[in-house]
Point group: C2
């Protein structure tokens, strides 16, 4: 769950694709392979990296393992990004508006 693990995990385009797919809805490892020309072990390894980084979490369901986005990882990026808030002044108001919208 360190920033190092998170950024390393997201540095790989295949893993970002997997993550984006999971952001739409949860999937098991086999479903995630669809469309990607990648072996089953490769997918398993990618998911392991994403999980160690706290970007994804798993939930065993029988002999399937369902994966979904873990908000903790995203929050960690948000916190990292917040440290450099001095450089996005123009964006702060947007974010505030967003949070207000999210609030009810």
């Amino acid at each position: 769950m360190t920033h190092d693990q998170i950024f390393k995990a997201l540095a790989d385009p295949t893993r970002r694709t997997i993550f984006e797919r999971l952001a739409t809805s949860g999937h098991n490892a086999s479903e995630l392979r669809e469309g990607l020309s990648i072996s089953q072990p490769a997918m398993s390894q990618h998911l392991s990296v994403l999980r160690s980084a706290g970007l994804v979490r798993e939930q065993r369901q029988g002999r399937f393992v369902n994966y979904e986005v873990d908000p903790d990882g995203l929050a960690s990026i948000g916190e990292w990004l917040a440290k450099y808030r001095a450089y996005w002044p123009a964006r702060i108001d947007d974010l505030k508006t967003l949070l207000k919208d999210m609030d009810q």
Copy 2:
């Protein structure tokens, strides 16, 4: 300036250190080496990666080159992160606190 370049750039701990140092204030390449046990070419290469990613920009001043944070790169991460806003509701209060701190 792609997400791929940005995440790859930030995946390296040395480059994150450099970036954080630049976030405090602008520095030239020599100043940035202080404290880091790293050769001059290594620093030059790191800065090149950060610059290509749009995270840092340079400004020649005589025979020195001053580097500073480029808001574009940060904004690009912010936009990437915003796509997954559906997954931060649990963290809203934390973020709000951050924004409040930022606001003074």
